[in-house]
Symmetry: C2
Subunit: 308 residues, 2 copies
């Protein structure tokens, strides 16, 4: 299915997964979980966000989390920033890898970061240009397939936005994000193949949600198309802000279990990851998702069902 | 992705989904749910099982269920039978479509139907041979990919068993069943393509579970390979007898939502199906699964998350 034998799984739980959790997770708990993820073999993580602490109180300890993460020498620590101002704050706090976020959909961008997409793109260009040479940048391209307000997003519109992003930064990795979980493998396959063909040499990532049960299917479609970097959240943490009660990000343990079963290496220990995922899913206020945790840690096997 | 524009979804909830539920579901409740499924557009259903009422008390009302189902003139009603004796009982009760079950894996067959696979195959041959000309037969080939006791099942072994089945009946549809939910899309794709190539003219179906989050991914892999008949269970009912707490059959609403989103017709109304699925998931003792129900019926949309 895949032409690659190694996939980089970016653990986004400490940012995307923790962010919607209401009760503040003590900073030391976050750091302990991040350490467990590191010990499980995670070497790339979106660890926190530099955002309005008033709008997202859960991310108020971004400086402490970043400082703690930077102690792991070989952990590639991304921090999310929604604007040039917050990018400056993150860099001042020691960030070596920024995740700038903007949305293809105007309505979602306005709702999420209170700017037009064009304004966000200009801020991204400014941030990328001013970036120290030893600092990396990724662009999280939200609503690359579907918008919670406007529905399906046309691939043509995505490609136009990508064109602008590519011009703004020669090196930025671009993550195509299925914000709503409503895309399907055929659409993922099409868009991933298009960007790989049209923008050779660029680094890409796929960020998917499992809201409609297609989390793993969409990740596999991206990998099958040639992507080698995929986001996931331990415990399936994340929820879906537009459908309370529904699950969110594709679970890291589901992705790792699937890839290993298909003979694709991730460098991650599933058992150690599950230890961390079980704790994450049990965090007060957490909206957990994924299947593999329940299948492997839910209960003990019992006898078969005799039908004859 | 698919070369077809119409897929037949076989609703197996009333058999595979109800079977593991402990508290007896009143027969009138079962019939009411079956009627809702019919009204939603389901035209093929595994409605009940003729099995030991002592081993599976939930199926004790098989005759009544079959009689009720036969009132829907254009509903293709499969009933599961594990042996020639139960096949005779089902035919005597008016069954027009039998689902004979046997397992590729010896251990699973012994555990499930207390016979060797060879003995089950002989009983299938006997049943198929004696079948009235207007009666259809399907073979549910359990553990076609993976066995709860022995792990991965080799495609070579499956193809050998299929060879015997094909010889035993020229017309039987064969359903490749991923009993444990542990197979992956690459393996599904391989085996589906192999059987289509090696046994031209034969009818096939794919029966998958969502225990590890690959329910939809595996269904899509089968369809992509050329299969046009797939099983699913409304509400994701089914559980997994080998991993209590884990979910079971892929949910019909997840499959239907996905296929419609990909432009593939099923003849099923998603909204009417969801009405039935919500009730099924709420049955006392039910182990429900799937994602789409929660995403579309779980709660009302709320505002976006502002990060800036």
């Amino acid at each position: 299915m895949s032409s690659t034998d190694k996939i980089t799984v970016v653990e986004v739980g400490p940012r995307d997964g923790f962010q919607p959790i209401g009760p503040f997770i003590p900073t030391e708990t976050k750091i302990a979980l991040i350490e467990e993820l590191y010990k499980a073999g995670i070497r790339r993580m979106e660890a926190t966000a530099f955002v309005s602490a008033k709008a997202v109180p859960q991310m108020a300890d971004a400086v402490d989390i970043l400082t703690a993460c930077n102690r792991f020498g070989d952990l590639d620590v991304q921090v999310l920033v929604p604007s040039a101002r917050y990018a400056d704050q993150a860099l001042a706090a020691g960030a070596m890898h920024l995740s700038f976020v903007l949305s293809v959909s105007e309505k979602h961008n306005m709702n999420n970061v209170r700017r037009t997409t064009a304004d966000s793109l200009a801020e991204f260009a400014q941030t990328a240009k001013a970036l120290p040479s030893d600092t990396k940048i990724r662009l999280n391209l939200a609503t690359s397939f579907d918008c919670p307000f406007d529905g399906a997003v046309s691939p043509q519109r995505v490609l136009e936005v990508v064109e602008g992003l590519a011009a703004a930064s020669a090196n930025a990795e671009i993550a195509l994000c299925d914000t709503t979980g409503r895309t399907t493998p055929d659409a993922v396959s099409y868009l991933c193949r298009e960007v790989l063909t049209r923008f050779p040499g660029r680094n890409w990532a796929f960020h998917g949600h499992d809201t409609y049960g297609l989390g793993a299917a969409n990740v596999l479609a991206a990998i099958d198309a040639g992507f080698t970097v995929v986001d996931a959240s331990f415990g399936g943490l994340g929820g879906c802000p537009f459908a309370p009660g529904a699950t969110g990000n594709v679970a890291t343990e589901d992705v790792v279990w699937t890839l290993h079963k298909m003979g694709i290496d991730t460098g991650i220990s599933l058992e150690a990851l599950l230890d961390a995922s079980v704790q994450a899913a049990a965090l007060p206020g957490a909206s957990a998702g994924g299947r593999v945790r329940a299948a492997l840690r839910g209960a003990q096997p019992c006898a078969g069902m005799e039908v004859a």
